[in-house]
Symmetry: C2
Subunit: 698 residues, 2 copies
C-alpha cells in the first residue's frame, strides 16, 4: 500500500518533470532560434523587441497564474515543505490549484529566461503530488478516494511527502541518491530507516521514468528535448590531476563561497523585505514587479553581449565554432564568420545550457576574464531581484550560475599555475556558493557528483563544501532558515538553546494564562464557552472524586487524558448529548461516530448551533479522549521538554505535578509548539536574554 | 574541540588503514610471487607446502593474538558498534588491546588468504580510535588526558564513535559519502544534522590522507602497495547501454541476491551456533578451528585451479596475457606459454585482486562458466565457515566475491542476449548479495558507485538493491540483526510491536518486582542494603511529608528525581555522611565532589567499607539526584513509552500515577531497557503472544 503510493509518487513526478522539461526546452529553444535569425540578418532591434516581448508574455502568463489562482505557488516552496515536515501546516500549500499553477508557472517563468530554476518548484510539485495521493484527492473538492483514506494520518502523510520531495530533487537534477540525501539533510525533521528505503524506491522510479523518456526522445521525436544523456552537466571527460599546491585555490574557492553565500543571504533578506511590502499592496503591484524584472532581465541578457569583443575560433577545438544553434558552446551572435562572442555564449541561452557552457572542460581559452566578470555581476543582480517575484522560482540554478562564474574566473586567473581544468573550477565555484548559502554538505556533494559524473573530483568538492559551510555559518543562518523566519513559521530547531536548561516547564506554565481543563462528563454550555473563548486545540480532561484501585485514598482526581478541539466540535455537531451526568458505553460511541469523522480536522465552533435546552445537557468526553498523552513532570528543564517534544513529534505536552497530595491538580499545565519557541519564552522571561548574552560573552 | 577530534579520528584512521593495506599487499604479494616461482618451475607440491605453510603461520599469528589478548577483536565488530550506539555497552569493545590486536590480526588474517575482508575490522578500528580519543585515553591504563575529559559523556562519545565508524568504512572502500551513509543507515540509532556534517568532515580527512599516500606510493616507494588509483574496482571504462529487455536479467539478479542472501543468513546462523559451542571449550579449540579453516582454504585455493582447462590467450586483448605477476588478469599458473588458467586468475590471488579480475570489463570470453561455478561454490563454503573463527574478519568482501561469481555467471549465460557487460553483471551480483544479506540500500548504492565509478550503472543498481532487499526481508532479518541476536545484546528496535499498543506501562510495572525508592535524606544502612540486594542502576528519590508551594494540601509526597547507583557508591566511598537528618547546602557538595568523580561510572558496592557507626548516619541524596528525569503517566501504552525511550535515548523511565490524592506514591514504577524488550514482556504476558499471532493471521 505505502509502496504503491511511493511508486505512484515517483512515476507521476517523473512524468510531470519530463513534461516540464519538454515544454521549457521547446519554448525556450524555438524562441532563441528565432532571435538568432534576427541577429543573423543584423536586425538587432527587432531581435531585442522579439526577445523581450516573448519573455514578457511568458512571465506575464506565469505571474498571472500565481497572483490570481495560487499565491502559495510563488517561490520555491522548499521552506514550507520543511516547515510542514516539522509539524507546521501552511494552508493551501499542497492543493490541486497550487500544483497546476506550479507546473505551468514554472514552464512560463523558466522559458522566459528569468534567472531562476525549475529545481525548487519540482521539489514542491513532487510534494504536492505526494500530498494529494496520500490524502486520496484534493481536500477542498471532496473527490476523496475511500481506499486511500486510511492514510490520512500525520505520520504517513509526512512520510509520503518526504518521498515526494526526494522525487522532486531527483527529477530536477537526475540525482536519485542526492534526492534522498537532500530530503534527509535539509527537509526532513524526523527520519527512520524504513523511510530512507521508501524514499530511495521513489527516486529509483523517477530515474527509470526519466531515462525511459530520454531514450525515447533521443532520436528527435520530442522536438528540441532529449538530446544528451541522463547526466546533466557531464565533466567526466577531463582527467582530474592535482598536486598538493592545488589545495590553495581550492581553499580560496571555499572561503569565497562562504563569504559570498552569506552576503547573498544577507542581501536577499533585505530585498525580500522590500518585496513583501510591494506584494502586500495587491495583485497589480505584484504583477508589475514581475514584468519589470522580466524586461530588465531581457535587456541585460540581450544587450550586454554587445560589450564583449569577438574572439577568433580556435581551429583545434573539436566543437563546432561558431554556432547559431539553440545550444552550443561558441555563439556567433554579432560576430563575423570564424569569430564568436563569449558573453553571448553565457547569456543568450537557456540557463541549463549556460551552466553546461561554463562547466565545459578542455576549453581553457574560451572565456575572457572580463566576460566572466560581467556574467558574474549580471547574475548577482538578477539573482537577488528575481527570487522574490510572484512566479515559481528555484534557488539552485541561480546559485550554480553565480558560483560557476567566480569559480571559472579564478581558474582563468590561476592560468598555468594550476593543474585543475577551468571547467572543474566552475563546478567547484558552484558547489561552494551553494554550500555557503544553503549550508548543506553531504547531499550537495552527492548531487554534484551525480550532476557532473566525476568521482575523482569528490575529495576536493568535499573540502570546498566543508570550508564554505563553516565560513558561512559564522556569519548568518542558511537561506532556507532566513525565508522560514521571514514567513514567520514557528520552526522547532533540533538543539535547545543553552539558557533553556535553566528554566523548568513549571515556571513556564506559571507564566502562561491559566490552564483550561474539562471534566470527564462536562456540561454542554461549558464546552461551548471554552471553545468560543479560547484558541487552544487541546484540553486536558480531569475526573474529580474518583476512587483509585490502589491506595486507601478517596476523593482522588484523575488525569484522564487530552481531548482535541476537533473532537469536541464533532461531539457538538453530532449532538452527542446526555440528559443525565453518566458515563457511556463503548457501543454507543461506535454507533454515533465513524472513524472517518474522527479523522476530520476541520470544523469550527461557529458552525455549530446548540439550543438553550441542550446547553443544560452533558457530554461524556471519556470515549473521545486520548488517554495516553505524553507528559513531563513540572521540575523538568525546558531543554529536555523541547527534546521530547521534537523527537517524538508532539503537538501538546501535558505537565504533571511532582507533588502527590489531595487538592493538587493532576495536571498543572500544557505546552504547545508556540510555547516552546525561544522568542516567545524570552518575551516572558526577559532576564534569560541577559544571562544568555553573558554566557555567550564568556 | 569536537572538530579537532573528528579531524584526528579521520587522520589516524586514514594512516592506520594505509599501514594495514601496505602490510597486506606486501605480505600477500611476495607470498604469491614466491608461490608462482615454484609453479613456474613445476614444483607444484613444494608450492602447495609453501602456500599452505605461509597461510597457516599468518592465520596462527592472527588467531593467537585474538585468542590470548583480545577475544573481542574477533569478527567484524560492526554489530557491537551498532549495539553501543543503541545504548548497550559491551565490555572491552573499544580498548587499546582490542585496537592493536584488530590491526595486526587483520593484517595476518587477510594476508593469509582467508575468505574475509579488512572492511569490517577497519570500521571497528575507526571506532576504537574514536573511543580512545574521545575518552582521552584507554580506560584501564589511566593515561587519561585531562583536556579531553569533558568529552566523557555518552552523547559526545556516541557521536565521535559514529565518526570513527564512518571513517572506517571510508578507509575500507575509499568511499567518503558511502561511509557517512553506512553509519547513518546501518550503524547509528540517533542522528542529528550536525552529526552528519561532522561525520562527513572525518571521511573527507580520511580520503585526503589515503589519496596523499597513494600519490606518494604510486612510484613504487612502498613495495607492492599503491599501484592503481583511489577507486578500488574501477569499471568506468565500459559504456553502459541497456534496453528495456535488459530489465529481465536485472530482476533475476535481484531475486537471486535476495534468496541467496537470506539462505546465507540462515546457514551462517547455524554455523555460528556450532562455532559458539566449539569456542566455549577454551583457547585451544578456538585456535585449532582457525588453523583447520586456514589449511582447508589454502588447499582449495591452490588445488582447484588444476581442475580448470587452460585457455588460449586472446591476441586482441590489451592486457598482458599470460602473467605470473602478483596481480593481473590472465594467470599462467600451470599452463603452457600463450595459455592462461582462468580459475587461478580468480583463486590464486589476493581477495582484492580477485574482485578486480571478476569485475573486469570488456573481457567477455575470459572466464569459463564451469570455472565461475567452481569459484562460486568454493566461496560459498569458505564464506560460511570462515566468518566465525577467532580472527578479525569482515563480511563485505566474501559477499562481494560470492555475489560477483553468480552475477558474472548469469552474464556469461545471457551471452549475446544482453547489452550489459559481464563485468557489470558481476558488480550487480555483488550488490544484490550484499543487499540480500545486509539489507542496506542507499549506502550500498553509494558505496558501489564510489567503488566502481560508473554513474550510468546507478539506476539498475538501485533496482537490484531494492528487489534483493525486499525478497530477503520476506525470509529473515539482516545478518547484523542475526549476529546481534546471537550475542544476546538487548537491541531496541525503531518500531514498537503492534501488540505493545494494548498494554499500558502501569500493567507492565505491576508485573515486575516492587519498585525500590529512596528517601531524600536516607539512612546509610538502607542505602547499603539496597545496593547490595538489588541490581538496579537507578533509584527514584521520594520526599515524604513536604508542603507544596501551591494548594492547601499538607503531608504531600514529592518525586524529587532519580539517583544513579554510581553516585550512591561515590557518596558512600567519600563518606558523605550526616549525623542528623538534614538537607545540605550547595557549597558542601561542591567541596566534597569534583565533577570528574561524578562522571565516573565504575565503582562497586563491594569495594566500600562502612563501619557500624556510620550505618546509623544519614546521606542527603538531594544534591546528587537528577531532578529532571523523563516520566510517563501509568496509563500510557507501552508502544508510546518505547518510542520515547528510544527517541530520547533513555536508560530509565519513571512512571508517575494518573491519580492525584493523599496516600498515592508519586512514582509507581520504573522502566529500563530490559523491561522494554519484546521477549521479556511476552514472558510476563503470555496471552499477548496469542493475540499477536491472531493479528498477524488476519
Amino acid at each position: 500500500m505505502k509502496w504503491t503510493l511511493a511508486f505512484l509518487v515517483g512515476l507521476l513526478t517523473g512524468l510531470i518533470a519530463t513534461l516540464i522539461n519538454l515544454a521549457i526546452e521547446n519554448i525556450a529553444g524555438y524562441k532563441l532560434l528565432a532571435v538568432f535569425q534576427f541577429i543573423e540578418n543584423e536586425r538587432y532591434l527587432t531581435g531585442l523587441a522579439y526577445f523581450a516581448g516573448a519573455n514578457l508574455i511568458l512571465t506575464g502568463f506565469a505571474s498571472v497564474l500565481c497572483v490570481c489562482f495560487a499565491p502559495t505557488a510563488a517561490g520555491p516552496g522548499i521552506p514550507e515543505i520543511k516547515a510542514y515536515l516539522n509539524g507546521i501546516d501552511t494552508p493551501d500549500m499542497f492543493g490541486v490549484s497550487t500544483l497546476i499553477v506550479k507546473i505551468f508557472g514554472s514552464i512560463g517563468a523558466v522559458a522566459a529566461g528569468l534567472d531562476l530554476g525549475k529545481e525548487g518548484p519540482l521539489v514542491h510539485i513532487g510534494s504536492c503530488i505526494a500530498s494529494l495521493l496520500g490524502q486520496g484527492g484534493p481536500d477542498n473538492y471532496r473527490v476523496k478516494w475511500r481506499w486511500l483514506r486510511y492514510f490520512n494520518n500525520d505520520r504517513d502523510l509526512r512520510d509520503i511527502i518526504t518521498c515526494g520531495a526526494s522525487s522532486g530533487v531527483c527529477a530536477a537534477f537526475r540525482a536519485p541518491v542526492g534526492g534522498v540525501l537532500f530530503s534527509l539533510e535539509e527537509v526532513a525533521t524526523w527520519w527512520r530507516s524504513a523511510l530512507l528505503w521508501r524514499t530511495f524506491f521513489s527516486t529509483a522510479v523517477v530515474v527509470v521514468v526519466l531515462r525511459g523518456f530520454i531514450e525515447l526522445c533521443n532520436s528527435g521525436k520530442c522536438g528540441l528535448f532529449g538530446r544528451g544523456g541522463l547526466i546533466m552537466f557531464d565533466v567526466s571527460n577531463v582527467t582530474v590531476t592535482y598536486q598538493a599546491m592545488d589545495i590553495i585555490p581550492v581553499i580560496i574557492i571555499g572561503i569565497l563561497g562562504g563569504v559570498l553565500g552569506s552576503i547573498y543571504n544577507y542581501l536577499l533578506h533585505k530585498v525580500l523585505r522590500v518585496y513583501n511590502l510591494i506584494n502586500q499592496k495587491g495583485r497589480m503591484p505584484k504583477l508589475l514587479l514581475s514584468l519589470t524584472v522580466s524586461i530588465f532581465t531581457s535587456v541585460c541578457l540581450y544587450c550586454l553581449p554587445f560589450l564583449a569583443r569577438c574572439q577568433p575560433c580556435d581551429p583545434s577545438t573539436t566543437e563546432p565554432c561558431p554556432t547559431n544553434g539553440r545550444s552550443g558552446n561558441f555563439k556567433q551572435f554579432n560576430c563575423a564568420k570564424g569569430y564568436y562572442n563569449d558573453l553571448a555564449t553565457l547569456l543568450l541561452t537557456t540557463n541549463d545550457d549556460a551552466v553546461r557552457n561554463i562547466f565545459s572542460s578542455n576549453t581553457p581559452k574560451e572565456f575572457q576574464p572580463v566576460s566572466l566578470l560581467i556574467f558574474f555581476a549580471v547574475y548577482c543582480v538578477l539573482g537577488l531581484f528575481t527570487f522574490g517575484i510572484a512566479v515559481p522560482s528555484g534557488l539552485f540554478l541561480p546559485m550554480i550560475l553565480m558560483g560557476s562564474a567566480y569559480g571559472r574566473l579564478l581558474g582563468v586567473i590561476m592560468g598555468s599555475y594550476t593543474n585543475i581544468d577551468q571547467g572543474l573550477y566552475a563546478v567547484l565555484g558552484a558547489a561552494s556558493l551553494m554550500a555557503g548559502s544553503m549550508r548543506m554538505t553531504v547531499s550537495l556533494c552527492v548531487i554534484f557528483l551525480e550532476l557532473t559524473n566525476n568521482l575523482l573530483l569528490l575529495p576536493i568538492t568535499m573540502i570546498v563544501l566543508l570550508i564554505a559551510k563553516t565560513v558561512g555559518d559564522s556569519f548568518n543562518p542558511s537561506v532556507y532558515d532566513i525565508i522560514l523566519h521571514l514567513k514567520g513559521l514557528p520552526f522547532l530547531d533540533a538543539n535547545p538553546e543553552p539558557w533553556m536548561r535553566n528554566l523548568t516547564v513549571g515556571e513556564l506554565a506559571n507564566a502562561k494564562s491559566p490552564l483550561v481543563t474539562l471534566s470527564g462528563v462536562e456540561k454542554v454550555s461549558r464546552i461551548v464557552d471554552v471553545l468560543k473563548n479560547t484558541t487552544h486545540n487541546g484540553f486536558p480532561v480531569v475526573d474529580e472524586e474518583v476512587v483509585p484501585p490502589v491506595g486507601q485514598a478517596t476523593g482522588a482526581t484523575e488525569l484522564h487524558g487530552l481531548i482535541l478541539r476537533a473532537h469536541l466540535v464533532q461531539a457538538l455537531k453530532k449532538k452527542w448529548f446526555l440528559k443525565e451526568k453518566r458515563r457511556t458505553e463503548e457501543w454507543e460511541v461506535r454507533e454515533k461516530f465513524t472513524w472517518v469523522e474522527l479523522a476530520e480536522r476541520e470544523g469550527k465552533i461557529e458552525e455549530v448551533a446548540v439550543t438553550m435546552d441542550e446547553m443544560e445537557m452533558y457530554v461524556d468526553l471519556h470515549p473521545l479522549t486520548n488517554t495516553t498523552p505524553y507528559t513531563v513532570v513540572e521540575s523538568i528543564s525546558l531543554a529536555k521538554a523541547l527534546v521530547l517534544f521534537r523527537q517524538v513529534g508532539l503537538r501538546h505536552l501535558l505537565i504533571v505535578p511532582k507533588y502527590e497530595a489531595a487538592g493538587v491538580s493532576p495536571v498543572v499545565g500544557m505546552l504547545t509548539r508556540q510555547d516552546l519557541r525561544a522568542y516567545n519564552i524570552l518575551s516572558a522571561f526577559p532576564h534569560l536574554v541577559r544571562s544568555d548574552c553573558r554566557e555567550k560573552q564568556n
